[in-house]
Amino acid sequence: MVSAERATVEASNLVFAWPGQETVLNIDELAVAAGERVFLSGPSGSGKSTLLGLIGGVLTPRSGTLEVLGQPLHELRASDRDRLRADEIGFIFQQFNLLPFLDVVTNVSLACRFSDRRRDRALAQSSSEEAEATRLLHHLGIDSELLMRPVTQLSIGQQQRVAAARALIGSPGLLIADEPTSALDSGLRAQFIELLVAECESAGTALLFVSHDLSLRTQFDRSIRLTDINRTKGTDG
């Protein structure tokens, strides 16, 4: 068992069910260590979104405990869970990560606007939120000429890298990437994951990478199959 101080995510006997419906998630034990890079796989319907919703703090477990960066999410009020998500969790989704009415840099720096902590950590790196956004975007291979463009003019690969920069700005403790490469060409996937892993490493951010494409797992410290740890599916099957 991972010690409480070092764990980024620690769940035990975690059970979730929508009101009046059958249990969709029942996990004995799940842990992600600080700075660890974990590959999580599972077919659709295996409870991936539910698990991410629980870790992200928009869902509450029916029973069991769930700690994220030492905070007991199962005990926190909704507003405190929102704050924890703002401060410590970056998200990248499959597609449509960006606000179409903001330019590239503002989309990235926006993550600092809802969290004082992330802003402070961003300002510890660079002179301004925008400078930090620009720095991360450069690291992720976004050219300067793209920075002030509307995000709608970017390719999907570029949009996903902008989303990665937003998830990374202000060095959150955990980055959750939910199928971030499934809309990308296979050639771009490996490159994207490489960049993402490198940036997580330099920021000290743990990475929970969700995908059904098992060929990608080689780039991670550890691989978990959700069907293995979710007892709901096991008993159903």
Partner: protein, 423 residues
């Protein structure tokens, strides 16, 4: 940047991104609130305009007809008199011991669309407007000679008349009269300061002047073969035989009702005396229905504008669910979503109502002259009054209230959707 400023920034950028819809929504709010404010402005300004035109006059006396008709033609130069009063009756009533002063009025002629009013110099001494203001001269002085005339400010300005100019008076009140008293021109001896009342649009002459130009007339037409020159006319007795109406100021207001009754029962001829304030109230009663209808219509237009805004915001909700999920994912709390949607409504409404105020102020500036010429309504160009601000505030409050609905729906959606939206 605080989160409130962030929410405002997001609202602004999001609206700018949906520019076409936003502009149309703003326009519909602007036009509807301008209509509401405009109706209210015309309503209050015509009232205060009418109120300020007669001040200090206790009774208006004319031939028996309708109260409102007498008030309108004697003071506001609207409509026409039905009959005359004999000079003798005027002398008798004006000579009553309770009477402090009297101003005779003789109407029926015009000069290039402006009404000509025959009176005497007591008019300049006793007439009051806007509570207690006296008539004052911008140039020159009151008429003395028979063929002298004093012009209202608008008459002089619009026709470009200066002191010493000769003008010809036409028979009848129309703008284009074929019968001109062109053999007896009048000389401009005075121009009044602007009053913001129908006086500005009046040509004033002495009663003797009116008498003189009609001296060789008979039964409303020029008597054939009896033409008299201006010099010959001056030899005649120019004491008028009849006038149109007269204004009375009493020594004590207490005597008003007594004298009014006496005049109404005057045995020699059918006369009528009205108290200006009372008759104005009757006039308001008469037009109240129209006012209420106009206000109701403009309120409906405002409601239609707000519904337009509501539908624009509601329509955008579906396509923006993903935006809300993104905001939630980067840490926006549910109240941020609520605030974002409400402030979009607020931004639209604030810009719309401000534009509406600008529109109504600009329009009143542009149409002031036309309203004055056409209807004798004096709309001062000014900032909205307290009632207009109240109306503007109410429209804003209603817009905020209305935008709470889509905001609430977005809030519920955001909570239900969590971080991932499947559309």
């Amino acid at each position: 940047m605080g989160s409130a400023a962030t929410v405002l920034m997001l609202a602004r950028e999001s609206l700018a991104n949906r520019r076409a819809t936003a502009i149309l929504t703003i326009l519909s709010i602007a036009i509807s609130s301008a209509l509401l404010l405009g109706v209210e402005r015309i309503r209050t300004e015509t009232r205060s305009g009418f109120m300020s035109t007669v001040s200090g006059t206790d009774l208006i006396v004319g031939a028996r007809s309708g109260d409102i008709n007498l008030l309108l033609y004697s003071v506001f130069r609207i409509g026409s008199p039905t009959n005359n009063i004999t000079w003798q009756s005027y002398q008798e009533i004006a000579g009553q011991p309770v009477v402090d002063w009297s101003i005779p009025i003789s109407l029926g002629d015009s000069h290039r669309g402006f009404r000509v009013m025959g009176t005497n110099t007591d008019y300049f001494r006793y007439y009051r407007y806007k509570r207690s203001r006296m008539l004052t001269f911008a140039e020159g002085q009151a008429f003395e000679a028979v063929f002298d005339t004093v012009l209202g400010a608008d008459v002089a300005e619009e026709l470009g008349y200066r002191l010493g100019e000769q003008i010809v008076i036409a028979h009848g009140a129309g703008a284009t009269s074929f019968i001109q008293h062109d053999d007896k021109p009048f000389t401009v001896v005075g121009i009044l300061d602007r009053t913001g009342t129908p006086i500005d649009r009046t040509v004033h002459v002495g009663l003797e002047g009116i008498e003189a130009i009609h001296a060789d007339w008979n039964e409303g037409g020029r008597a054939p073969g009896q033409s008299l020159s201006a010099e010959e006319v001056l030899e005649l007795d120019l004491q008028p035989e009849a006038i149109t109406a007269f204004l009375l100021g009493l020594k004590s207001r207490v005597a008003t009702f007594g004298l009014q009754r006496k005049i109404n029962e005057y045995p020699q001829e059918p006369l009528m005396a009205i108290i200006p304030g009372v008759t104005l109230q009757q006039l308001w009663q008469l037009i109240r229905g129209v006012e209420v209808a106009l206000l109701a219509i403009s309120l409906c237009v405002v409601i239609a504008g707000l519904i337009g805004m509501l539908s624009a915001i509601l329509t955008s909700l579906g396509e923006r669910r993903r935006e809300m999920a993104i905001l939630r994912a980067i840490g926006a709390r549910p109240w941020h979503i609520l605030a974002l949607m409400t402030s979009e409504g607020a931004l639209l409404a604030v810009i719309g109502v401000s534009l509406g105020i600008a529109l109504v102020t600009g329009l009143s500036f542009l149409t002031a002259g036309w309203l004055k010429q056409r209807f004798g309504i004096f709309l001062p160009v000014q900032w909205p009054g307290p009632i207009e601000w109240l109306f503007a505030g109410l429209v804003l409050a209603a817009a905020l209230l209305v935008s709470l609905w889509p905001a609430w729906r977005a809030y519920r959606n955001a909570l239900a959707d969590g971080l991932s939206v499947r559309i």
